[in-house]
């Protein structure tokens, strides 16, 4: 678990105006904390109001935890300039191995406001250059 879920408390690291925060009050996620998990995509919803990504993360003890992450709207991601690459409805598929970074839920729920996704080839789909 410790190897794969590395909590990096980096107060200054925050995507300016993280677009996916548009829907919610400040309460749910902690913009002052960052978590990175590596896992396998189980669900990918390219839907309004927010794109949702679910991945299964296997800890050192072999137990699986499903992490959920949210991004901004699909319309925004499909427009050039809003992410490292232009997103589309098939950019992630069930079974894909990805690294997902974001601001975690304040209450410890395995959920995050995603700030970065890197695919199995090391290509940042969002959050790399921004």
């Amino acid at each position: 678990m410790r190897l794969q879920i590395a909590f990096c408390v980096v107060a200054g690291f925050m995507l300016a105006a993280s677009p996916s925060s548009a829907h919610h009050g400040a309460g749910l996620f902690d913009p002052g904390e960052t978590v990175t998990v590596v896992g396998t995509v189980t669900q990918f919803h390219f839907v309004n109001p927010h794109v949702l990504v679910y991945i299964t993360v296997t800890g050192e003890d072999g137990k699986e935890i499903e992490w959920a992450g949210e991004l901004t709207s699909p319309n925004r991601l499909a427009r050039s300039g809003s992410a490292d690459v232009k997103w589309h409805k098939d950019i992630l598929r069930v079974g894909d191995r990805i690294t997902m970074t974001g601001n975690p839920a304040r209450n410890g729920a395995p959920a995050m406001d995603i700030t970065k996704i890197v695919d199995a080839n090391g290509v940042a789909l969002i959050g790399g250059a921004l």
């Binding site: 829907h23 319309n75 839920a105 729920a109």
Partner: protein, 256 residues
């Protein structure tokens, strides 16, 4: 004064639309059918430096001065955004029941809008829930035959290259912003819209409501032009977000 003349295609569309509109375009003089500037295109909001934190949910850093009537409603509301923000599951924000945000709040939702200019009319087509505003510039008066509405009744005129818009006849079911600043049916919105020195669309707002506000709320929104197209964005799709938020909220309960 630069006159923007509509294209033949726009004229054709206008002719078709005028078949069902209240005032036939043909009855209007050429002067009132022309526009003082060309705002056509898809625009997206840009925040002035230092405003990013609040500009997504309200019109100014400080709350406007509210009357006792306004303050009472404000304090009784549970907005989802701003310093008093609560989770989506707990808010009484009408937009989360998919009622329209109304005017001018629609400007606060972070999605683009397209401006289409037809003879005697400027249309704002918002990506958010495909809401539209029709600003008639053909000299007509405000409608008095219809009930108050979500987006209001908008008429405008050109002051040189600035479009001056007056919108009235609002219902009182919306909030002025996303932090729950309320308004009454006496809401009156005056906008001065122009292309500024940076090539951006600048909308200066004067939000008046003697029932809710002690004094007019003055604000500015700025938009940059894009090469985007307006995509589909239906509010009812917001239900797809509930399982995600519940996953977080229910974790609270499990921990209790």
């Amino acid at each position: 004064m630069m006159q923007y003349r509509p294209t033949a295609a726009a004229m054709l569309i206008a002719t078709l639309l005028s078949l069902s509109s209240q005032t036939p375009a043909a009855a209007q003089s050429a002067a009132t059918l022309e526009h003082g500037a060309d705002f056509s295109g898809v625009w997206t909001n840009v925040n002035a430096p230092g405003t990013a934190e609040w500009a997504i949910y309200t019109f100014s850093e400080e709350l406007p001065a509210m009357t006792e009537w306004g303050r009472a409603r404000f304090e009784a509301s549970k907005p989802q955004r701003g310093p008093r923000g609560v989770p989506v599951a707990e808010t009484d924000d009408p937009v989360y029941k998919c009622f329209p945000p109304g005017t001018p709040r629609v400007y606060l939702h972070p999605f683009p809008m397209e401006i289409i200019q037809l003879p005697g009319r400027v249309m704002m087509v918002f990506e958010y829930d495909h809401l539209i505003r029709q600003i008639y510039t053909d000299g007509r008066e405000h409608r008095t035959d219809l009930a108050p509405s979500w987006m209001g009744d908008a008429t405008g005129h050109w002051d040189g290259d600035t479009l001056v818009v007056e919108t009235v006849s609002f219902n009182d079911k919306t909030w002025i912003d996303r932090t729950a600043v309320p308004h009454s049916e006496q809401l009156r919105l005056i906008e001065r819209i122009r292309i500024n020195e940076d090539g951006n669309l600048q909308i200066d707002l004067r939000i008046e409501d003697p029932i809710a506000l002690e004094e007019p709320w003055i604000a500015r929104r700025t938009y940059r032009k894009t090469d985007w197209t307006i995509e589909e964005l239906m509010c009812m799709d917001n239900t797809t977000y509930e399982p995600f938020e519940n996953l977080v909220l229910e974790h609270d309960q499990e921990s209790d």
